[in-house]
Amino acid sequence: MSGKSNWMWVSIGLLCLLIAAIYLATYYYSESVYFRSLYEGAVSDLKKLTMKVNILIDYGNGTQTWYNGTSVPRETNVLMATRIVALVKGTEYPGMGTFVDSINSVRNEGGKYWMWYIWNPDKRNWELGPVASDKYVLREGDTIMWRYEIPSF
């Protein structure tokens, strides 16, 4: 068999592989387009069910951690939102709400407690949370802060 004939058969073999590769590439591309559209649909649905809030945890020793643009379920409260970004332990007092005992293993002690605040964009200042953290329902774009401090009251 001549060398030219060998190359012809190698070319035919490669052509067959190319055809199979084109089929697979076309198939997987169409699959990726399909699943991308599913993903975008799911994200769109998720956006309708969630909202973005900003959370600041101030450890009182100069360490501040921001969790900006945190996605939380709509109608969620401050405590639930905080539990999304940090390990929170608390004690529930029926009728009053949950008293936070520790955040990220930093416990209330030595007269220092975890207090929560909400940013007032009109007055441009932090306002102390008016109720227990699990009683306050957040709205889209709210900014809250947990500060480890000796309460002023």
Binding site: W9, I12, G13, L15, C16, I19, A20, Y23, L24, T26, Y27, S30
Partner: protein, 200 residues
């Protein structure tokens, strides 16, 4: 030897070839109905290819077209004239490829299965397998385009939706051609001596 056309110096089709065409068509039909539960896996393409290879272009085309005329009409999945036309015409590709390979003398040096230990045997089988794959991909392309006309899909969508069917068809035909061509050629050559293989 009997022949269909006397009086002219050119022989058209011998009786034995006609018998073989009918017999191979019957085998094709039986195989198609037996394998109807396995989508796109059919031994018919191999038989049509071998018909073209051993008997020439016209008998090969006849085997393919006659098989589809029956199988495409009496088909549990239904009858569609456009599909029938597409399959009838595209099935001839196998006969054409068979005829061309015979012209190129591919596999003509394999006389018996005793050559199985030889490297050449497997190399020739590989060639047949590759040709089976290539012919099937052309066949699938034509039939997919026909389905575009019927269903109204875009050509790309037709190809995408039929990717797995096409791949199954091509890979199975590669295997059938790879393992089936040489044994069947050596067997059928005994039924159809070389001197009766018509050249059209």
């Amino acid at each position: 030897m009997e022949s269909m056309a006397h009086g002219s110096s050119e022989k058209i089709v011998s009786t034995r070839v006609i018998c073989l065409v009918i017999m191979l068509t019957s085998i094709n039909l039986a195989l198609n109905y037996v394998m109807i539960g396995i989508p796109n896996v059919k031994l018919m393409d191999l038989i049509v290819f071998l018909s073209g290879y051993l008997m020439g272009l016209v008998p090969g085309i006849l085997v393919g077209v006659l098989t589809w005329l029956v199988y495409g009409t009496l088909n549990p999945f239904g009858f569609n004239l456009i599909i029938l036309a597409a399959t009838c015409s595209s099935e001839t590709i196998y006969a054409v490829f068979g005829w061309l390979l015979k012209k190129l003398n591919i596999g003509s040096d394999i006389i018996t299965l005793l050559d199985i230990n030889g490297r050449k045997f497997w190399f020739t089988s590989l060639k047949f397998g590759l040709i089976g794959f290539l012919a099937t991909s052309i066949y699938d392309l034509i039939t997919n385009i026909a389905s575009v006309v019927i269903v109204g899909l875009s050509p790309i969508m037709a190809i995408i939706s039929g990717v797995w069917f096409a791949l199954i068809h091509e890979v199975s035909n590669f295997a059938f051609f790879f393992f089936g061509c040489i044994p069947l050629i050596t067997a059928l050559k005994k039924v159809l001596p070389e001197k009766e293989v018509i050249e059209l």
